[in-house]
């Protein structure tokens, strides 16, 4: 597995750039990933999505369905893509440090 160094911290990641361990997440990770996910500046809206994903994951052990993410944050899917160009899975979940989405993707 590859390791990434950023601002003196190291992160272990897989080929797709997802964190290997949720516990390794810290705000610097978001700074490091944002560019590769097509994000210039992080806004409060970005953080709101990231925080919700993390809360939901800590409580439920899985990522929320898109519908739930939209409902709780109040952001329509279109807006989520405006915030995270590669979408809620590859974009937002990766930045939030959640495990890589699996299944028939």
């Amino acid at each position: 597995m590859a390791t990434v160094e950023f601002k003196g911290k190291t992160f272990e990641v897989d080929e797709d750039g997802f964190l290997q361990r949720f516990e390794d997440w810290n705000p610097d990770w978001v700074e490091y990933v944002k560019e590769s996910e097509g994000i210039k500046e992080l806004s409060d809206e970005h953080n709101k999505v990231i925080e919700f994903l993390q809360d939901y994951y800590k409580k439920n052990g899985i990522a929320p369905m898109v519908r739930i993410l939209s409902k709780v944050t109040g952001y329509k899917l279109k807006h989520i893509y405006e915030l995270f160009p590669s979408g809620p899975g590859k974009g937002a979940c990766k930045m939030a440090g959640l495990p890589k989405p699996t299944g028939c993707v």
Partner: protein, 437 residues
Amino acid sequence: MAKHPTPLLDQLESGPWPSFVSDMKHAAEQRHKNPRGTNQQIPEGVIDDLLGLLEMSFEDGTTHWKHGGIVGVFGYGGGVIGRYCDQPDKFPGVAHFHTVRLNQPSGLYYKADYLEELCDLWDMRGSGMTNMHGSTGDIIWLGTTTPQLEEIFYELTHKHNQDLGGSGSNLRTPACCLGMSRCEYACIDAQDICHTFTNEYQDMLHRPQFPYKFKIKVDGCPNGCVCSIARSDFSIIGTWKDDIKIDQAAVKAYVGGEIAPNAGAHAGRDWGKFDIQKEVIDLCPTKCMSYEGGKLAIDTKNCYRCMHCINVMPKALRVGDERGASILVGAKAPILDGAQMSSLLVPFVPAEGSYDEIKEVLESIWDWWMEEGKNRERLGETLKRLGFQKVLEVTGIKPMAQHVKEPRTNPYIFWKEDEVPGGWTRDINDYRKLHQR
């Protein structure tokens, strides 16, 4: 020449069927020779390494691709299937080996120019290997690296006016039979429906927003040449309402042996002289046909429109003029709760113009399933869990006998409270006044 010895795969080069191994070896050689001077953007040895990796799987009987893979292009949540091999040091050419899905034209008609343009792009930015086509219908490009994905997407959309197909929990690429383009059975313009729905629901196709995957397929008639009833959550199947058109003179020609039955489909074996009674009348599932005094008659009221008689005598029998489609829903493969074919939801719907009647049914199903469907629950499973009655309610369709093959045999029947005089609120004390404990 070959980079890795492939004794097991080599055996698959013999025999009459086109050998994928020979094709791959040829393509590998072309990549090395590079006769057109292509500026190859992924490893020259990609195909050699794929053969090597496959040979290794043949030896040890197990796959050598790592689990999953999440890659894509900005703006879309699907379209690319990421893949990494688990022996990247031994087979660096396939360390990244992503699959790109391209939305195919309805009915899979192409011009050589167009395919050549696509091949030029894929030779440069991918492995040059394809799958024509994936089961869902897409043109499949097999094998490229992550940095090439946006490059490929840019050229596809800007130069070739070509978009990606679907993947993930979304509307997958719709597909259809070749319909009216070259089939006299087509009751609906399957290609136009497929094309129209693909364009109409681009957002659903590119940005996953469903509980799970959802597929649409369109068959021009009940023969099911694109298998919509088995391979799509929303199956649109052409049919007709009025009489089958009978050309009695042509019927006589079949009986007289001048025209081969089934358009000669069984010519490979001697099945004897065509016997209309045995091969058509007696095989009709509803027994609604007769052939007396040299005249064929069909009692339309009792015809299921199974296509058998038309299939046997295509020059004598034609589908009716009052055409439309049936909508069936819920087909899926076994995981999780068992395989399903689609169930009849709308027996007959007009299928012309902008197809608003069909879209209305589809969108009301989506509204409901997107809200009620559980995570990774196919529509067919939601139907099982919440009941077929529910989908009738959300689509505003009245229950009718055609909705079932047979009525239920168990008596566990739910009633709505307002259907029952007095409702559900009862006081046990009132009951006790008449019935002592």
